[in-house]
C-alpha cells in the first residue's frame, strides 16, 4: 500500500467518527464550539501520531501477551504530556475541555490504530497512518463543531457570522443537537456514497471491454 493511500484513507474512507463510529464521546461533548473542537482534534492528532510511532519502534521487543497494557501506558503518558502543556500555555482552553482531555486515553481509535496498524508496520507508514487518522478526526470534529456553532449560535470561532435577524435554535448547542447533527451528516455521506457507487457502475457498463467481460 502506498503512503498516500495509508494517509488518505483516514480522512474519508475510514473516518474515525463518521465511518467507524469510534471515539464518539468527544465528538459530541466538545463540539459545541469550533475552538474546542479544533483543540481536541489537534490534541488527538498529536497523541495518535506519537503513539503510533512509539508502538511501531517498540514492536520488536514487546511481548505480544502484554502488548495491550503497554499500549495503554504509552497512550496515557503522551496524554499526560499534552494535558500538562495545554494547562501551562492555554489554561482557558484546558478548562473548557475539562475531563474529556484526560479521556483521550481510552479513545478506541487510538488503541485500535496501535493494535491494527502500528504494531505490525514500520515507523514511517505508522507515522502517516497516525497523521491521516488524526486529520480525519480533526476534520470531522471541525465539521460537526462548525455546523453546531454556526446554526446554534450564529457565530464561527467566536465571530458573528449570521446577523441579528437569525434566531438560533438552542437545541443545537445543547446535548441533543450533537446526536442529531452527526446522524444527519452520516445520512448525507451515505447518499453521496451511493451516488458515487452508481456512477462507478455506470462507467464500467459503458466501457466496451467491460461489457464483453460482463
Amino acid at each position: 500500500m502506498s503512503l498516500w493511500k495509508i494517509f488518505s484513507r483516514g480522512i474519508y474512507e475510514e473516518n474515525p467518527i463518521l465511518r467507524l463510529a469510534l471515539s464518539l464521546c468527544p465528538a459530541l461533548a466538545v463540539t459545541s464550539t469550533v475552538q474546542n473542537a479544533l483543540t481536541m482534534g489537534l490534541s488527538v492528532l498529536f497523541v495518535i501520531t506519537a503513539n503510533n510511532v512509539m508502538v511501531s519502534i517498540s514492536r520488536k521487543w514487546v511481548n505480544p501477551k502484554v502488548r495491550v497494557p503497554i499500549f495503554i501506558i504509552s497512550i496515557a503518558t503522551i496524554v499526560t504530556v499534552v494535558e500538562l502543556v495545554l494547562e501551562a500555555f492555554f489554561p482557558a482552553l484546558f478548562k473548557s475541555l475539562g475531563i474529556y482531555l484526560s479521556l483521550v486515553v481510552v479513545f478506541a481509535i487510538i488503541l485500535a490504530r496501535a493494535e491494527v496498524f502500528a504494531s505490525k508496520n514500520k515507523v514511517i507508514p505508522s507515522f502517516f497512518d497516525g497523521v491521516g487518522m488524526g486529520l480525519g478526526f480533526t476534520l470531522a470534529m471541525v465539521l460537526i463543531g462548525g455546523i453546531r456553532e454556526i446554526f446554534g449560535a450564529g457565530t464561527f470561532l467566536g465571530y458573528r457570522l449570521l446577523g441579528t435577524w437569525y434566531d438560533p435554535p438552542m437545541v443545537l448547542i445543547l446535548a441533543p443537537g450533537g446526536f442529531l447533527v452527526i446522524g444527519c451528516i452520516i445520512g448525507l455521506m451515505n447518499v453521496y456514497q451511493e451516488r458515487l457507487d452508481k456512477m462507478f457502475i455506470a462507467k464500467i457498463l459503458t466501457t466496451p471491454q467491460a461489457k464483453d467481460s460482463v
Binding site: A76, T80, L103, V106, V171, G178, L180, G183, L188, N190
Partner: protein, 196 residues
C-alpha cells in the same frame, strides 16, 4: 438526615437528571455498539454497575492515600487507567474460574468495559470534585444505573425499529444517532430539576 438527603439527590442527579450518557456523552461507544437487544444491554448494564462501583472504591483509596499526600495528582490519569484495566482483567479471570455460567453471559462485556470512557470518567470526576468516600460510591452507582437505563431504553427502541421503513441512507448508524438525539431531548426535560 440531611446527609442522606444529599446522597439521594446526588444519586438521582447522576442517574437521571445529568445522565452521563445522554447529557455528558460518556460511554457512547458501548451505547451505540451493544444496544441492539434488550437482553444484552441488561447484562452490559450489570457489568457496568458492578465494575464502576468497585473501581471507584479502588481509585478513591489510591487517590486519597497515595496520590494526594505525595503530590502526584498529575499522574492520576495513568494510574487510574492501569488500575481499572488490570482490575477488570482480574475480575474476568476470577469470574471465569469460579462462575463459568455467569462468565458465558458476561465475559465479553467485562472486557469491553475495561477501557471505556464512562468507567474512567466517573472516577476522574469524583477525584476532581473532591467527593468523599460515600459520595464517590453513590455517584458511581448512580451513573452506572443511569447508563443502564439509557442503554435499555435505546435497545427497546431499536428492537421496534428493526422492521420500520427507514430511508436507505439513514439505515443503521444514521437512524441510531437520531433516536439517541430524541432520547437526549427527552432527558433534557429533567435539566434544572436539582439545583446545583
Amino acid at each position: 438526615m440531611s446527609n442522606l438527603h444529599e446522597y439521594f439527590l446526588l444519586f438521582m442527579s447522576a442517574a437521571i437528571v445529568n445522565n452521563y450518557v445522554l447529557t455528558r456523552f460518556l460511554g457512547l461507544c458501548i451505547f451505540f455498539g451493544v444496544s441492539k437487544s434488550v437482553n444484552s444491554s441488561m447484562s452490559m448494564g450489570m457489568a457496568i454497575v458492578s465494575v464502576m462501583s468497585i473501581s471507584s472504591i479502588m481509585t478513591w483509596t489510591i487517590n486519597h492515600f497515595i496520590l494526594v499526600p505525595f503530590h502526584l495528582s498529575f499522574l492520576r490519569t495513568i494510574v487510574f487507567v492501569i488500575v481499572i484495566a488490570s482490575f477488570v482483567q482480574l475480575l474476568e479471570i476470577v469470574v471465569k474460574r469460579f462462575l463459568p455460567n455467569l462468565h458465558k453471559v458476561w465475559g465479553i462485556y467485562l472486557l469491553l468495559v475495561a477501557t471505556n470512557c464512562i468507567v474512567l470518567g466517573v472516577p476522574l470526576i469524583n477525584a476532581e470534585e473532591d467527593f468523599n468516600f460515600v459520595k464517590s460510591v453513590v455517584n458511581a452507582v448512580g451513573s452506572g444505573v443511569g447508563f443502564s437505563v439509557a442503554l435499555i431504553l435505546m435497545a427497546s427502541v431499536r428492537e421496534r425499529m428493526e422492521y420500520a421503513k427507514i430511508p436507505k441512507a439513514m439505515r443503521g448508524l444514521g437512524s441510531t444517532f437520531i433516536i439517541a438525539g430524541m432520547l437526549a431531548l427527552a432527558f433534557q426535560g429533567f435539566s434544572g430539576m436539582i439545583p446545583k
